[in-house]
């Protein structure tokens, strides 16, 4: 059983289209992070959301944390070929002394065609 369900696993779209990636759980997270990973490299942090209902924007990327802190979404507006890559959500579970132990979703492989 996966703690963080990320969907879709694969996304293939045309340049200029919009897309949303979802990350859902039945557990509460004290924070939720989104990473992007390129081939041969480790994940690179894009954003951290910590407050229920929080919305953060990073250029054409919009990140939202659910009110109950159990889910998050990543929305990309007017996708570009340079957005192609693996996107990962990861969270730190609420409660206890997790000290940064990250729980990851399976990832979404995004391909944006010119």
């Amino acid at each position: 059983t996966q703690l963080l369900e990320q969907s879709p696993q694969f996304l293939s779209i045309q340049e200029g289209e919009n897309l949303t990636v979802y990350c859902n759980s039945s557990s509460v997270f004290s924070s939720l992070q989104w990473y992007r990973q390129e081939p041969g490299e480790g994940p690179v942090l894009l954003v951290t959301v910590v407050t229920g209902g929080e919305v953060k924007k990073l250029k054409r990327l919009t990140f939202q944390f659910g009110d109950a802190r159990k889910d998050s979404s990543l929305h990309i507006t007017a996708a570009q070929p340079g957005d192609t890559g693996l996107y990962l959500c990861a969270g730190i579970r609420a409660g206890g002394t997790s000290y940064g132990k990250l729980t990851f979703g399976q990832g979404t492989i995004l391909t944006v065609h010119p």
């Binding site: 963080l4 004290s30 490299e41 480790g42 730190i92 002394t97 000290y99 940064g100 990250l102 990851f104």
Partner: protein, 117 residues
Amino acid sequence: EAGVTQFPSHSVIEKGQTVTLRCDPISGHDNLYWYRRVMGKEIKFLLHFVKESKQDESGMPNNRFLAERTGGTYSTLKVQPAELEDSGVYFCASSFWGVAGAPREQYFGPGTRLTVT
């Protein structure tokens, strides 16, 4: 400033052999984490060091895995003896110290791809 480095980048070994992976964290980062991604699965936590002490090793699969961080600098992860299911990409990450629950950005290394045949 140098990022997190891992060595080797690739390792192919036979079942039953021993392999040691190394991670050099960013200088000054007290926290060091090991994660693993098995093919088709999500990245999973293995263990967490604070300086030289193991803070959380709840993700270590079994006693064939031994992690050390002598002197609180670099860390090694030894697999002995390796089994087929140990194949995957092993990531190391480091971060500054933060209080419980307070996120501190983890910087990931490029990973070591381990193949056990």
